[in-house]
């Protein structure tokens, strides 16, 4: 019967989101808690907040029948309760076991939601936790003089296979306590609750139902497994929206509806006029209607613009969602490397598109690890250099025009350019006599596989280098930059567009289809007479203001066929990190704001195409991914390479 009422799948999505938030909060609380280890007594509000977050995780997981999550959350909640009641001292040991518990809880939530096996080492940890808590619980029970039954209930509440009997007993116990306390409460309450408790049908119904659902889902999953690859993030993504933003949207939609009515009124009046033979439809009648229609159209345009803007805002979330996990990360890495690091975060409230927020976490994490690992010196070295023992990493986000800027800076070593040069020579990236500017040396660290670290540390090593960070940022249509002063520190700057969903595009015709080229990569469009096109090693180039620009014929690249214009070429000059390429098209169709829609997973990833958009007349236009188009063309030797190497 429980399954009729609960559509679990819907709740699971909420559960995952909520737990993610709570786990962030738990992390933040633990970090604050850790600051009190020296004094031994924490600020009560921190412990209370921890307790509440764990309590909520316990409750929600219990409702969904996630036994492991519930059990662990309960045990951790217990530990916080001991802390709260001053039955257990705050020590490095207790904070560490809570941190470890928080990590297991994160993994357990993941495995509960995805129906994968529980994380390795969980049993070990639970045993350790029980042992740890056991020491203090005993004394606690002595101090509080708990009765046997109370202790049973405490234990039972951590399990999901709580039977109706246990609940009934718990409720009867409350009745007994209430009776003892004497008539201080309204009389209506006692009987119903007890009666309900005893009448509760199907002991333990929730857990078995959950199991059946889980098993069925597991079977489904097996079937769908191959299809699911790569689409993990796309499925079931949710976003929390400020209710005000939704209200605004609702109002705007209201205006749309009003307009719709106006327009259909006009339409029916018009059709009456044309059908009515008696009326010769004089100007006097049609004139006002035309005006009315024009007004409606104007209002429609305004409303749809506003809706577009509002929807964009709905997609915007604060970047703090990503930042929140970094204090913990920095703490862990610093601890592992024997460094003292303070992380200063500002601008966490800066909004940007949800998809970008999701994508930017990984590169930022890598940069922060890099700062701790390679940037900040060990405390002794810092002291010797006259710096504070504790290094500072600043993570800062702010809006600038249509972009968001994220800066990661440290007051550590700076990039050792001599070492970069030595490494570059050793790895054969540059010659021993090459004269490179500081700028060019810094550029070297973006080369795939480049690392100045002598040994691959388990922190920032593992082959993930700055090149990957740069690639990820570029994929998000962002710009990545590094500044460094030897001995004083390094600053990484990431500039990202606020959203990827709506862009300005230049529409071009190629053979008989329209394609959209994102305007941010377009420098200019040109009509060039064919004699001005020259060939270099069989590839076409033009000279533009003294610079040689290789041409890429889109029709050829996409194998569209079509006849070439014998007299001229229409060229869209696109810029890629300072380099220019001319895309040859068959015609320009003007600029337009377009809404990017991903091509279905069924179509797959297509080099040169990043998505599609639906134009005003309902026609579909594919969006050209300039970056992959050009790099693919280079890889295939379709374009003159000569001028590509210059910066």
């Amino acid at each position: 019967m429980a399954d009729e009422v609960f559509d679990r799948s819907e709740f699971i999505a909420y559960f995952r989101d909520e737990s993610e938030e709570l786990l962030q909060q738990i992390d933040a609380d633990l970090l604050r808690l850790e600051e009190f280890v020296q004094t031994g007594t924490p600020e009560p509000e921190i412990v209370n907040s921890l307790f509440r977050a764990l309590h909520t995780v316990k409750g929600s997981s219990g409702m969904l029948g996630f036994v492991d999550v519930q059990t662990l959350a309960h045990k951790l909640e217990n530990l916080c309760d001991l802390l709260r009641k001053d039955r257990m001292p705050l020590s490095e040991g207790s904070v560490d076991i809570l941190f470890a518990g928080r990590d297991f809880l994160t993994d357990l939530v993941e495995s509960a939601v995805n129906q994968t096996p529980a994380p390795h080492g969980l049993d070990d940890y639970m045993g350790r936790l029980d042992q740890f808590a056991g020491i203090y619980e005993e004394t606690s029970q002595v101090i509080e003089g708990k009765t046997g039954s109370e202790m049973d209930f405490d234990a039972a509440s951590g399990q999901s296979d709580v039977s109706a009997d246990q609940i009934a007993a718990f409720e009867a116990e409350i009745e007994r306590l209430l009776a003892e306390a004497g008539g201080a409460r309204p009389p209506a309450a006692s009987e119903p609750a007890v009666a309900a408790a005893i009448a509760a049908p199907e002991p333990g119904a929730v857990a078995p139902v959950a199991n059946v659902v889980a098993a069925a889902a597991a079977r489904r999953d097996e079937k769908a497994k191959d299809a699911k690859d790569g689409s993990k993030r796309a499925a079931g993504q949710t976003i929390r929206v400020d209710i005000e933003r939704l209200d605004t949207l609702l109002n705007l939609v209201g205006e749309l509806v009003i307009n719709r009515t106006r327009i259909s009124d006009i339409a029916s009046t018009l059709s009456r006029l044309t059908n009515d033979k008696a009326v010769a439809a004089p100007q006097a009648l049609i004139g006002p209607l035309a005006k009315e229609l024009a007004n409606s159209a104007a209002s429609l345009a305004r409303t749809s613009n506003e809706i577009q803007e509002s929807i964009m805002k709905v997609r915007m979330v604060p970047i703090g969602q990503v930042f929140d996990r970094f204090p913990r990360l920095v703490r862990d890495v610093a601890k592992a490397r024997g460094k003292e690091v303070q992380l200063d975060i500002s601008g966490a409230e800066t909004d940007l598109d949800k998809t970008i927020v999701d994508e930017v976490g990984e590169p930022l994490m890598h940069l922060l690890r890099n700062c701790v690992d390679h940037g900040i010196e060990s405390p002794d070295v810092r002291e010797a250099r006259g710096k504070k023992r504790t290094g500072t990493i600043a993570l800062n986000a702010f809006h600038e025009g249509n972009q968001i800027i994220i800066e990661v800076s440290d007051d550590g070593n700076g990039i050792d350019l001599e070492r970069v040069r030595a490494r570059g020579i050793k790895q054969g990236l540059i010659g021993a006599d090459d004269k490179l500017s500081d700028r060019e040396l810094i550029e070297l660290i973006f080369t795939p596989g480049f690392s100045t670290a002598e040994t691959v540390s388990d922190v920032s090593g593992r082959g993930v280098g700055m090149d990957v960070v740069k690639k990820n940022i570029t994929r998000l249509k962002g710009v990545f930059d590094v500044d460094s002063v030897a001995g004083a520190g390094t600053k990484f700057t990431i500039k990202l567009p606020l959203t990827l969903a709506i862009i300005q595009a230049l529409l071009v015709r190629v053979v008989d289809e329209l394609y959209a080229i994102p305007l941010d990569s377009v420098i200019e469009s040109q009509r060039v007479e064919l004699p001005d096109v020259r060939t270099v090693h069989g590839n076409e180039v033009i000279t533009l203001r003294g610079q040689v620009v290789p041409l890429l014929r889109i029709a050829d690249f996409f194998e569209l066929g079509g006849a070439r214009d014998p007299e001229k070429v229409m060229i869209v000059i696109v810029g890629l990190q300072g380099r220019q390429v001319g895309l040859v098209v068959d015609g320009f169709q003007g600029e337009q704001e377009i809404v990017i829609k991903p091509l279905s997973v069924v179509v797959g990833r297509i080099p040169g195409i990043s998505g599609a958009t639906i134009l005003g007349n309902g026609q579909i236009s594919l969006i050209i991914d300039v970056h992959s188009l050009v790099s693919e063309a280079y890889a295939g030797g379709d374009v003159a390479r000569a001028e590509y190497s210059g910066v």
């Binding site: 079937k223 191959d226 194998e559 569209l560 279905s600 069924v602 179509v603 297509i606 579909i620």
Partner: protein, 169 residues
């Protein structure tokens, strides 16, 4: 496939509703639960470099739907689209895909016990696409496994590459 057998047991004594359509001389069917709607041919936007059986994408009320040409998918000769050509819009898992067929016949009930496992070969279509063959009066309706139709695994891609290479030489 093993699943066909299971399905049969599960529905024993029941009927399934099937949307039947023609492709060449054969009649095919898909479970009505997977068929969202049947639409007339509309303008299809070609997607360059997409898998060969991918005819392109269409705009269905603001949603982009990839379109698969079943003839190409099954290695049958391509034909000009006619007035009776239709697009069957299907939901396969979380994916919405349109498939082009020569014509759509009707919605029919097929008793589960009249569905048999697929014979080895039907008109050159690999058995992996076929869930079974349903018998209604004297008609044979080939039940398609749409999941396989839209799956583009490596093996399939390789086959595709092969056919392209053969085609270009």
């Amino acid at each position: 496939m093993a699943e066909t057998g299971n399905d049969k047991q599960q529905f024993s004594g029941e009927k399934i509703k099937v949307v039947s359509f023609r492709l060449g001389t054969e009649e095919y069917g898909v479970d009505i639960a997977q068929a969202q709607e049947v639409i007339r041919m509309v303008e299809i936007t070609h997607v360059p470099r997409a898998p060969r059986f991918m005819e392109g994408v269409i705009n269905l009320r603001g949603q982009l739907i990839p379109i698969i040409d079943l003839r190409t998918r099954f290695g049958m000769p391509r034909v000009e689209k006619t007035k009776s050509s239709r697009i069957v819009v299907t939901d396969i898992g979380s994916k919405r895909v349109g498939i082009i067929v020569d014509s759509v016949s009707e919605v029919i009930d097929i008793p589960i016990e009249n569905i048999e496992d697929a014979p080895e070969m039907i008109a050159g279509i690999g058995t992996e696409y076929i869930q079974g063959v349903g018998k209604v009066a004297d008609r044979l309706i080939i039940m398609l496994d749409l999941t396989m139709v839209i799956t583009t695994d490596e093996r399939r891609d390789l086959e595709l590459l092969d056919s392209q290479l053969t085609a270009s030489t």
